[in-house]
Symmetry: C2
Subunit: 442 residues, 2 copies
């Protein structure tokens, strides 16, 4: 039977959000009291000044006192966070899963999903100034996100905006966040407000977690005068600034660092100082909040699209299966190259011929670059002109391979004609292609 904690005789009852001092087995623990665990109520959890969370068995607590009440709003918010009056301005917080809602299992050292979106928010008193409507849409790791999930997320965001959300924050795993943010960039157009993806590289109950700065920055951004789909993550390894990246111009570029996300072939949209509560535009391309803008929701996708990495020694067998798709994104070399002639190999074959055949059979072939940064340019080399003449799509585009893949699914969801597909793919729709190269974006 769980034993209730002994409260100090005087003073208010400690509530989540309060700064408390607890004494357990002679040791003092000082920090913010977090909401009780949904799974096990025999513990209380305190966020220590070091940033680490500590779980203390209630039965072992000899004294607990409130040092400072949490802001009044925090308590009021509890109600709002479930069902705020639709007329009042609120920030929507949708959790899709990922490390940010994970906890470390200290027995095994492994990380698994554990925190509800409300618990996450209430652990951060600085968020108490916002009226937040929180909901959990999915609780999955981002590697398990699929185009099916992208559609559900887009619909959920559209629903929140329809209900009057002033801005939307999405918690999402980092591994495929840039795929999902690209998908929403195409699916949700003419956004009246900002839609901010965020996550963390270290789970939010760890002292070194980047979750707090990312969440504070995301709520600032969601309430800013911008509009559009963005990814908000650390700028570098300290907590001072986060960057807001355009949803279709960003990529996870490091397996573990807090500043894993980088704008690719684009300046970031804005810089956010989470603890100074400041936000400054970096790119001129940032669209302004437009409350009267009529949101267009267009989630139809043709998911029969393949992404094919090109590499020396690529065998013809790899290409055969591509004929079963409705569209192909090649991740080629440099400015946009594929091996034309593998003369040294025994099974010599022309990849060019296979590309021509794909296009001839009505399958659009989009070329992107494994260099990741920079623009495809099919004007430079003689070999490339052959690709252009064959009808390869992607000339002068600076889309990442991932954005090109998501976009092709979206374009094929509404167009069947090769000419129209090419036109849409090579035209900027959601900030995925920049007209001019911004010099400092590499």
């Amino acid at each position: 039977m769980p034993v209730p904690p002994k409260k100090s005789k005087k003073g208010p009852t400690p509530e989540p959000g309060d700064e408390v001092l607890a004494i357990c087995e002679g040791r003092e623990f000082r920090g913010i009291l977090l909401p009780p665990s949904l799974k096990d109520d025999s513990f209380i959890t305190i966020k220590l000044d070091s940033g680490y969370n500590i779980g203390i068995q209630k039965g072992k607590i000899t004294k607990i006192e409130v040092l400072k009440k949490g802001e009044a709003r925090l308590t009021a918010k509890k109600e709002q966070s479930t069902t705020p009056a639709p007329s009042s301005p609120f920030t929507s917080f949708i959790s899709c899963g990922g490390t940010i809602v994970n906890k470390i299992d200290y027995r095994t050292g492994a990380v698994h999903p554990a925190v509800s979106p409300r618990e996450l928010i209430e652990g951060l008193p600085a968020l108490s100034k916002y009226s937040i409507r929180a909901r959990m849409l999915f609780s999955i790791a981002s590697e398990d996100m699929s185009p099916w999930h992208w559609v559900r997320i887009a619909e959920a965001v559209a629903g929140e905006i329809k209900d009057g959300a002033y801005g939307v924050v999405l918690a999402h795993g980092t591994d495929t966040m840039h795929y999902t943010s690209a998908a929403l960039s195409f699916m949700l157009q003419n956004l009246p407000c900002p839609v901010i993806f965020t996550g963390s590289q270290r789970s939010s109950d760890r002292g070194s977690s980047d979750a707090e700065a990312n969440l504070l920055s995301s709520f600032l951004a969601a309430n800013s005068d911008l509009s559009g789909v963005f990814v908000c993550m650390h700028e570098n390894t300290d907590d001072e600034t986060c960057l807001l990246h355009f949803g279709a111009k960003v990529r996870k570029m490091h397996t573990s660092r807090r500043d894993a996300f980088r704008s690719i072939s684009s300046l970031p949209a804005a810089r956010v100082w989470p603890f100074l509560e400041k936000i400054e535009k970096v790119s001129e391309r940032c669209p302004a909040r437009s409350p009267n803008s009529k949101l267009t929701v267009d989630t139809k996708l043709n998911t029969k699209v393949a992404m094919q990495y090109i590499y020396p020694g690529l065998r013809p067998e790899a290409f055969k299966q591509l004929f079963d798709y409705d569209g192909v994104v090649l991740v080629g070399f440099g400015l946009g190259h594929v091996p034309v002639n593998l003369s040294g190999e025994k099974n010599s074959y022309s990849l060019l011929l296979q590309i021509k055949e794909l296009i001839a059979s009505g399958i659009p072939v989009v070329l992107s670059s494994q260099a990741m940064y920079g623009r495809i340019n099919l004007n430079v080399y003689t070999n490339q002109r052959v690709l252009r003449e064959a009808g390869v799509i992607g000339h002068m585009c600076d889309m990442t391979p991932e954005t090109a893949y998501v976009k092709l699914m979206w374009v094929l969801g509404r167009e069947k004609k090769m000419g129209k597909i090419k036109e849409l793919m090579e035209k900027n729709i959601a900030g995925e292609i920049t007209e001019r190269t911004e010099f400092s974006s590499y």
Copy 2:
């Protein structure tokens, strides 16, 4: 009939390497006289001070005079560049093709192969202090390089070293240079001297070409006190410094910029000031020149290896063909994730099951990250432990996907047993895995 240029009555006959003044149709052209074209001798070519090359029809030249003779060595070198005495110390220059030996066709604007390695060297008087043995091995674009070519290049380099080369410089197209440099890192071990890959992002007859700084830096590096396989390219957009990257820790990261090459999860080996003739170590891991080291040449590859990019919405069909290979490199997410469960899709399937089946049928599966930077770590998430238990290879490795692919070919060329393959893949052999993460390498 080509008309010989009218020479000025006094002074020496202009020879390649001389600084000349030519007058043509009333205009003066001042610069370095380049060797005559092999294809068309009705023109002379002058490298102008602006860096651009200009071709002038001999018949239209009213006067040409030598302003300054090229260094005596340049003439002497002509002989050496074909057959230097094997006993004398020489730098070997092997041309494999690429933009650095290309010329712009001013009629079409396209770029095509045109310059011989000797022409390239003789266009740069600063190289005249080196005794250079130059040869053309291939003249192909780097997208057409295949594992077959890697073997030929390794054999050619080994031959030059056997003949007494003090260092080797290789001209190579940039698109797949990092694949070839990784291949040579595994094929040529215990190198007594430096083997330097270089190339250019803009052809060497253009004013903005990066060829000169890259070549000068490469020859400096080839004659330095280092050993090993390196890539030498611009550090940034000016010509002041180039970087020497470890051959198995580098990647082309931009489609067009001069500083397209970046060290990945590693500091660069060294920094080179081409015009100050200075070279400084950056990384502690740089091996020193060791003239007594006995070169090991081991070029055997098993090229039946596939590289498979992982992305949300990946279909089971894509995995079927992988069973036809002897090894597979997965380019997964973040720390090392693949979709375990595509629950939302109609054709729900477990990728994990397919990976287990691949391994059970004796096909090694190596995991790398599409984040490019950072280390694979299969200890963090519960889902990943399943991958580890299934026998996936790559834990704690910070190899680029391209290096992992090349290495797997090389390892499969000598090992058949799964345990031994795993052991070799996860062990540092040629500088491809760093023990400690160098903080400033992202």
